[in-house]
Amino acid sequence: MASVSPPAPARSAAHPGADDRIRPLGPLQRALRRPDLGALLGVLVSWGLFAAVGGPSFTSASGTAAFLADAAGLGILAATVALLMIGGEFDLSIGSMIGAAGMLLAILITEFAVPSWLAVLVALLFGAGFGVLNGWLVVRTRLPSFIVTLAGLFVLRGLTIALTRWLTGRTQVGGVADAAGDGLVHALFAARVGPFSASVFWWIGITVICAVVLSQTTFGNWLRATGGNQEAARNSGVPITRVKIVAFMLTGLAAALVGVIQVLEAGSADTLRGEMREFEAVIAVVIGGTLLAGGYGSVIGAALGALTFGIVRQGIFFTGVDTDWFRVILGVFLMVAVLVNSWLRTRALKAR
């Protein structure tokens, strides 16, 4: 017998699993087991690189605000996409949702003179509702969410362009800022605190909430279980249908929020807003240590992945290198991140 258990002692909570042979993990060993360690290294390396090459204009407050604002737009998405991917699903329709929700907001305000707070509410509800539809379709059809939301990507973008042109005769709608005014809605979504845009605070807030949901709630436990092994989760009594639909609702809602922020910041809406964002969000999440297969990952990592994105995109701009190289760097980053993460996961499963 491999291990000899002592004659069953009285149940004692005071000495849980006390054993001399087993040393507790040090803080360093614990840190090395985190899935988001690679993303933290990515942030440090890329920031260091561009700080060295880009100089003070990159490290200044305005430079920092620039890459934070860039990261925020992606990070709001990435936080919820991380939850969804840990739950084992994809949402490729979020890029189209950014354009759709933004256009919906702009048209409601400018064409129908809807109060801006109500228009924002409608746009956010539209995003959440479309997410619920995605989730329901995935659960009911049992098709891969990759396919279901890929269809959503095209349908939603196509509808946005077609309906906008039919209603307004154009594919861009301006004048939102004048119509919406400077009230509470503007303050909430488009104001600045010093050089920092409101989206940065939304990003931080949403990241904190999603991270708490993942690690500190029952729902977070159910997400991991659903993504880790759907059948085992079902056997254990996890309501996987509800878990998935809620996760899709969150990505739809986050995409609509990004659309709302973009339109209120820019004062105009464009039917093509948000293109490629669905893939950028997946890349940020994967850089952050979340497995493509689901079941394992980190919201903090997704935020760090989005931050890496912002640093690289703005850093290239500050260094004067041709921005055409951005996508090349991004692709390489993605490959390296996936390699590092699969290595870290193997380590996590071996650590004992």
Binding site: M1, A2, S3, V4, S5, P6, A8, P9, R11, S12, A13, H15, P16, G17, A18, D19, R21, I22, R23, P24, L25, V212, S215, Q216, T217, T218, G220, N221, W222, R224, A225, G228, N229, E231, A232, A233, R234, N235, S236, G237, V238, L291, G295, Y296, R345, A348, L349, K350, A351, R352
Partner: protein
């Protein structure tokens, strides 16, 4: 064992789209016994345990559990009444921590309303204590289940079922993927659960696992039961032959009787 059986299935039949999966099955399980469920692939073992655990419902017959006639509409309902099923690969999630796995679907919480959070410290403390009791030493209950051996995972799944008040433990091929030492460890723990008064339904293909631990043996073949035998009625060799195919043996019996 005295008293009424923990489980009594009487004349249970189940059909899928006109195909008979089970017909006229009688299946008793007492408290404090290991009932081995034997039979070839397609014999109906899975259907039977799915009826027991609430995944399927019988088309005919009665299902008594713990003194009352039951008809469980879901695994969750059966679980709430104390029927725990441990599936071969489908009870633990490798990429989740031991503590989170232990409480999956029954998470401890603290706080109120929207501010109700998963009680991680309690989960870790209880999981550690329960694991220590069955002799599994882990450095940290937050380490992933994937770091445990197959036998340890089965033991944790059984410990979890016991902790949540299981009266009937259904084990589906708990040792089939395990080495000799690991299998022995799981079986020893199964025996311990039996000695504590649980009813155990054990499905296995391995006579060396079934015979030493089984108190009674029920053999299924083609959706029919070939009977339930207690250990003093059958030898290890009999069980082996029964497992190889109850039908062959009963045919053999008929031939002898005809002569």
């Amino acid at each position: 064992m005295t008293g009424e059986p923990l489980v009594q299935l009487t004349n249970i039949s189940k059909y899928f789209l006109g195909v008979t999966a089970l017909e006229d099955i009688n299946f008793p399980v007492r408290r404090g016994e290991v009932m081995c469920l034997l039979g070839d692939n397609g014999a109906g073992k899975s259907t039977l345990i799915k009826i027991l655990s609430g995944v399927h419902q019988q088309d005919q017959g009665t299902y008594w559990f713990d003194g009352l006639e039951r008809r469980f509409s879901s695994p969750r309902e059966a679980k709430a009444h104390g029927i725990a099923t441990v599936y071969q690969d489908l009870s633990m999630i490798p990429l989740m921590s031991i503590a989170r796995n232990f409480f999956l679907g029954s998470e401890p919480t603290r706080g109120l309303g929207p501010l109700r959070f998963f009680d991680g410290p309690t989960a870790c403390r209880v999981a550690s204590a329960e694991l220590a009791q069955i002799g599994i030493k882990v450095r940290d209950p937050e380490q992933l289940v994937g770091t445990l051996s197959g036998g340890e995972r089965q033991c944790v799944a059984i410990a979890r079922a016991k902790y949540f008040g299981a009266k009937l433990l259904i084990l589906d091929e708990p040792t089939s993927a395990l080495g000799v030492r690991e299998a022995r460890r799981v079986l020893r723990y199964v025996r311990q659960a039996r000695d504590e008064g649980l009813g155990v339904v054990l499905i296995t293909h391995n006579v060396n696992h079934a015979y030493p631990i089984g108190d009674r043996f029920t053999i299924l073949g083609h959706g029919h039961s070939y009977g339930t035998f207690s250990k003093d009625e059958v030898s290890r060799e009999d069980v082996l032959e029964l497992m190889a195919g109850g039908e062959d043996l009963s045919d053999l019996g008929d031939e002898f009787e005809d002569e």
